[in-house]
Symmetry: C2
Subunit: 361 residues, 2 copies
Amino acid sequence: MARNDLAALLLTTEPEIRYFTGFLTRFWESPTRPWFLIVPTSGAPVAVIPSIGVDLMARCGVADIRSWTSPDLTDDGISLLTETLQELAPGGRIGVPSGHETHVRMPMADYQRLASSTHLTDDKGILRSLRMVKSEAEIALIRQACHIAARAFARVPEIARAGVALDQVFRDFQRLCLEEGADWVSYLAGASNQGGYADVISPATLRPLAQGDVLMLDTGLVHQGYFCDFDRNFAVGVPSPEVPDAHAKLIEATQAGFAAARPGATAADLFHAMNAICTGDAAVSDAGRLGHGLGMQLTEWPSLIPTDHTELTEGMVLTLEPGVSLPGGKLMVHEENIVIRAGGAEWLSPPSGPDILVLEG
Amino acid sequence: MARNDLAALLLTTEPEIRYFTGFLTRFWESPTRPWFLIVPTSGAPVAVIPSIGVDLMARCGVADIRSWTSPDLTDDGISLLTETLQELAPGGRIGVPSGHETHVRMPMADYQRLASSTHLTDDKGILRSLRMVKSEAEIALIRQACHIAARAFARVPEIARAGVALDQVFRDFQRLCLEEGADWVSYLAGASNQGGYADVISPATLRPLAQGDVLMLDTGLVHQGYFCDFDRNFAVGVPSPEVPDAHAKLIEATQAGFAAARPGATAADLFHAMNAICTGDAAVSDAGRLGHGLGMQLTEWPSLIPTDHTELTEGMVLTLEPGVSLPGGKLMVHEENIVIRAGGAEWLSPPSGPDILVLEG
């Protein structure tokens, strides 16, 4: 911060504030109240938050908490925040995360009001750099999240077979994640269709699974505030011949990404290692990337794309997520989670073998 | 929009974009990619979105979709968005929701870049006004979400009794919500402690329920993109004498809010109707409000606070959420969901009676 001439950081989003305080609550689901954390160049962080959160923030060990009764329709914490910034960082530049993958979680009118009386600037990527490298405690939580999901995936044959509607499979899979120990299930995507699927972001349809379908489930469940993010593919009955081949190719690509993942390699290197197998390194898919960072959020920096030259270092947690095309405009994707160690990568999700799992047709 | 001299609206968040398009996906969980919708003064909305979302957006009936391969580290859709705005609203003022409960979901650096070449201003509360009044189709979905939660609450005796840890109750309650038909469970808060609880936003602890506890569970589950948001209190075994009295007072306050809820009354009127019973209208709690709007988000405009003079109209969906203090710094809260009709309010959640539900001690 001092090197970048920043007197303080101003943080407004859930992962940014949790990173420095451990403040973990699902209350962020409500957009009503803004929450602020100030990290001065020296001294402990100071929370400027709605009074409803004071008890929990104090239990997180934050000693200096300034609060107001929110919502306040004329001044929802902005005067208090301005005063606190002027006290902690008088006349100084205040770094606000402003780059890719960030947003400022407060009303734009309030941000502009704040900017008129303080010197707001970007944070020079400090938050990104800090959060990208995980501690052993963080890695252990992500591993536990992965193992919970792996146990739920192993039970998919209990809930999915020909005739069961996809929306029921989605509900039941989330139930399995909870039964296996997830605190909550923030993300579930997936699809099912003949010989592959068309898209990986749509909500579940009412269509029943049918013989010849490929079912994909991709979950980001949460364990003590940390995510996993990986998927599994299943053949419903006997798949068309392209499907087992595509699955084997996805596993081969994932293994190539794993082999390339070591300190000194770049995010782009991992992209090329996997894309060489998926497409002969010819094309970039609509998904735009073949993996990403993982941690307090479902997706974090970096992106496995040709233009991301972020150098991998020990402690980075990544997803490897290759995709292949199938006839008829279909596709299949596979995803695993890894951590970068001194000697190479280590699996956090128990990796899939080359054979696609088969469900009752 | 014309009255406010706006040539277009620019929308960046999940509920704002879904409101105009029906674009429903859990993919918003990833912070990586920005999504934009432009609503011009005349003509249909235009989506400017990452290519990964084009298929789903097209199936939503949006005819004009401009896309780019995201993430793009040098230009993540900003040139495309700028060009599209200049084409659809040349030289015109672009309204961006900027007031309370809003935020702009894109990197601040990109927003500032966009602002340097277009005339961005606030949306004059247009989105808030539109979203505050629900259609019959929206009301039906919220009612269904409420009934799913009500069925789950009725099954709490299956999962909660003295000796069961609170975190296990949280997991099992989410499982019950899914079994009863929730698409997913975006929000679960709650607490359990002797003779009331200290706070309503903390995550579940490992502490087992004990004889004399009050257990509160408050859920915002999602059904086809619409939330419920209400809670239930349970006594574990025989409660201290203050607890049944507090519960009866909460129900009385809720009923007073219900009786006051009709077209022409204000959000503040409902606050005072409930607070008169809870505190003799003496105090405002740390929660800051006694209810709020509800719909595509867990909490929406207005707030039931003394300073919110929003006039209630037919079709508004609200929560009534009184709270009372108990000895030892404890509190209890109760919450129900209603819709404003011509002749008064209608329950969407099946309302609780005055007697607190009792679990096995």
